[in-house]
């Protein structure tokens, strides 16, 4: 499977994602600059973490208007895989590709630690290498990861299995329903605050994140 890793001014997990795909997953990957307008029909898109456009106005608000995002929206509409990690999750919410929004952590602190996630839906293309209830040790590093969505939308999301990951043992950031990752109704776009690309090798302390990338190859 071919991958494209987006790069915005201020992206800082793009190289980690690139490394995870090329060197660990052993799949072809390229960078797609924010001013590019092309996503190929056979590519999976990774929207990486960081602080695109300095998080000005709101996290992800300005990245959403980049030329590349129009191509990502088209790719998503065609059913191609789009994975947003951390700031990438925030961008996908701002772009309307995922429901909800991410606001400041309840405790106001930037939280950087390894957390335990519980798989809430293992039937997505991102989680088919796991089973419901499996736990994954994956790091988080964010100040705005507090997921918010209105009650009606949340109900619909739960009915459609769109809650994919929850923080096991409670959300450290105040997230509604301990939500750590969600997908769209069609199941081809996933956003998550934890960083699976930082947990792909035992050397990094955990290789649990690799299961998410491996699921995409199945």
């Amino acid at each position: 499977m071919k991958f494209a890793v987006l790069q915005f001014p201020g992206s800082n997990c793009d190289q980690d994602a690139f490394h995870a795909v090329r060197d660990v997953l052993k799949q072809p990957v390229r960078y797609a600059w924010h001013k590019d307008t092309r996503i190929d029909a056979d590519e999976a898109v990774i929207v990486p973490g960081g602080f695109s456009y300095g998080d000005y106005l709101r996290c992800g608000a300005i990245a959403r208007f980049s030329p590349i995002m129009a191509a990502v929206k088209e790719a998503a509409a065609r059913g191609q895989t789009v994975l947003g990690i951390c700031n990438g999750f925030q961008i996908l919410c701002e772009a309307g590709l995922l429901p909800g929004a991410l606001v400041r952590n309840t405790g106001l602190h930037f939280i950087c630690e390894t957390v335990t996630l519980s798989v809430a839906n293992s039937r997505t293309r991102f989680t088919q290498q796991t089973r419901d209830g499996d736990t994954l040790r994956i790091p988080i590093a964010h100040g705005e990861g507090n997921y918010r969505v209105d009650a009606d939308t949340l109900k619909a999301m739960e009915d459609h299995g769109q809650i994919v990951f929850r923080y096991a043992g409670g959300a450290p950031n105040g997230s509604l329903g301990d939500i750590a990752g969600v997908c769209n109704k069609e199941g081809n776009v996933l956003g998550m605050m934890p960083h699976p690309e930082r947990a792909c090798e035992p050397l990094l302390g955990s290789a649990d994140g690799l299961k998410i990338f491996q699921s995409l190859l199945k």
Partner: protein, 79 residues
């Protein structure tokens, strides 16, 4: 023309920043402050004189970019 767009967190959304400011104000001895919401004040200088058209365009900008309707409300004031 000058326009001011004020963006505030929705009432239903917890505002951790506002809450931290509220607690700090209490440390100043102002226990009477019951609630604080922190928002954004955005000033725009706009060419042209058609207030109605400008307001229309600003509505669009406020909805699409300046605020996120999932979590924020906005108010437009044209001077």
């Amino acid at each position: 023309m000058k326009a001011i767009v004020t963006v505030t967190p929705k009432k239903s959304i917890l505002d951790p920043q506002g809450d931290a400011v509220r607690k700090a104000i209490h440390h100043l001895g102002m226990e009477c402050v019951e609630s604080v919401r922190v928002g954004k004040h955005i000033e725009l200088e706009i060419s042209g004189t058609n207030v109605e058209k400008t307001r229309e365009k600003l509505e669009q900008a406020a909805k699409d970019l300046l605020s996120n309707p999932v979590i924020e409300d906005y108010k437009i004031e044209i001077q």
